[in-house]
Symmetry: C2
Subunit: 343 residues, 2 copies
Amino acid sequence: MVTLEDVARHAGVSLATASRVLNGSTRQVGASLRAKVELAATQLGYRPNVAAQALARGAGNVIGLVVHDLVDPYFAAIADGAMRVAESRGLVVMVGTTHRDPEREIAYVSTLNAQRVCAVLLAGSRTADPHVTRRLREELDRYREGGGRVACVGQDLLDADTVVPGNAEGAAELARTLAGLGHRRFAVLAGPAGLVTARDRVAGFAGALAGLGLPAPRLVHGPFDRDGGYTAAAGLADGITAPDEGVTCVFAVNDVMAVGALAAFRDRGIRVPQDVSVAGFDDIATLRDLVPALSTVRLPLQDMGARALELALDPVEEARAELVTGEVVLRESTRRVGPQAPG
Amino acid sequence: MVTLEDVARHAGVSLATASRVLNGSTRQVGASLRAKVELAATQLGYRPNVAAQALARGAGNVIGLVVHDLVDPYFAAIADGAMRVAESRGLVVMVGTTHRDPEREIAYVSTLNAQRVCAVLLAGSRTADPHVTRRLREELDRYREGGGRVACVGQDLLDADTVVPGNAEGAAELARTLAGLGHRRFAVLAGPAGLVTARDRVAGFAGALAGLGLPAPRLVHGPFDRDGGYTAAAGLADGITAPDEGVTCVFAVNDVMAVGALAAFRDRGIRVPQDVSVAGFDDIATLRDLVPALSTVRLPLQDMGARALELALDPVEEARAELVTGEVVLRESTRRVGPQAPG
DNA sequence: CTGTTAGCGCATTCAG
DNA sequence: CTGAATGCGCTAACAG
């Protein structure tokens, strides 16, 4: 491996001079020496050792990104947004996936701390477990004590700059819109009981229903992914085919679950939206190719990832939490229904 | 930031001793001192500085991963596979996306070289441009001269261990299967002319057709993504509705293009598979939720990513290229057709 | 078993 | 403008 010293010797200059021309220092170097150094560097194929630079400078150029699952389009979009701003600033990204294990999230923050990344970005819902949340916060504090910056997209529970999706608000708006379509009896594929995002969306949805004087939705809990949505919807199938008291609309707390629900209904010959309406949340990119196209609450995922990283990188006083409002978008999977027969 | 020296002082031991207990060295340390050090470390919240470790040891624990687009399920799956084996080995992953720009791929290898990652993984098709390929290879050579390991998933064009998808073979097998269903006139959404993967799949498909004595397929080039598939298919629509000489089956050289094609046909009232059969390639995860379910050639994407990283990490003599055979899987998007009326 | 001492590759004072 | 010297945080021989 060729080092700066090799280059300096090869060019017949001092180490310091070589360093100055090769690293964009503020100091000026004479044209002739500069040329010599640059020549030697390219000839030898010199590549700076960023680890050494980071050590000497006390500041690196890598940022850490922690997501639950890269294969989930939701996180892929957020990661993509964050990586674009990272790239635009000459930063390199270290990515870790927790596969929805909070312990791994904590472990990863520790790892990123050891890597001395200049900022870490935590994407994804917090868990309701106060114990793990406390431990995660402690780990983050340790990291921040060392000068690290942290930002998240999700709930503002970590004392960090946070891009907060309007989960409750969006779900409430969705509920009102759906009610406006004539729906009265709802089911909610509610995800895991311990996931704050899922919880907030359920609460927002149920709260809006209550505000409208409508009956409480039927809740079915399960995993936060596609198969979780499938299973939950399958368990619902009976309630939907029953002519009386049947739910006419099901809200899955995220799109991938809604996709699973669509599949479950399809497999059982239940037509969407004729037999039941279905709505999701997030507006992941793959949605537009579904049949029927899924109604949902749109979140600007890439922007959120990008914005979160900006928050981490440009420490603004008093700009802790930024709320992002979701926009209800109605597509083919939800339809207007006639007034219900009185119970 | 608390350093090893702080810990050593706090524990009343030497730097070396502290290092030995905290970093899993082979050397043994007495129980009492060990306890003191561990206590001091946790009390102070010590986190090793991996950059310094890497410098001192001359070996890091980060690997680099370069993909074209993280949002594309194809790359997400490969990345996921690679990241799983990385994690199992205690390695951390630096991810870069090229957004299909070969220049960025070269630049990223340079960056990863500067980071002194212990291995780099290049995923995605090569371009047919010999000039960029040469420059990329030079950059890789420089990296390897420094002791770096490289592996790819794609074509074996970089003098590196490579997991090679059986593109031509899989496409050929697909062509034969489709012909067996009675199809005679095909169209191929061929992707960019300069992308080797696209090229190989087209060639394999067309070659098999020729071998069967069937007419050459109609080729439509375009971008390698969903919208490219949409546009290409839209341009085809006339040829399909024409009763005579019309193609009965279209092969998109990858699944995301096929998804776009499905959308284009749907928007035009062309039914799949009644009016035209459609097949893709890759078997990305999102496929199972499409209607109609898409026929394709299955590639074990995660395994390929995982395997490639293993190749990079466990340098085996003479195991340069590993071919992965794709498996044709027929679903609802392709149907059997009656014998064609003679021209 | 434990402590001392050199570097790893580079940025940066500080002199000249 | 240029060079010599110091230290970043840690590991790995060497001595005790």
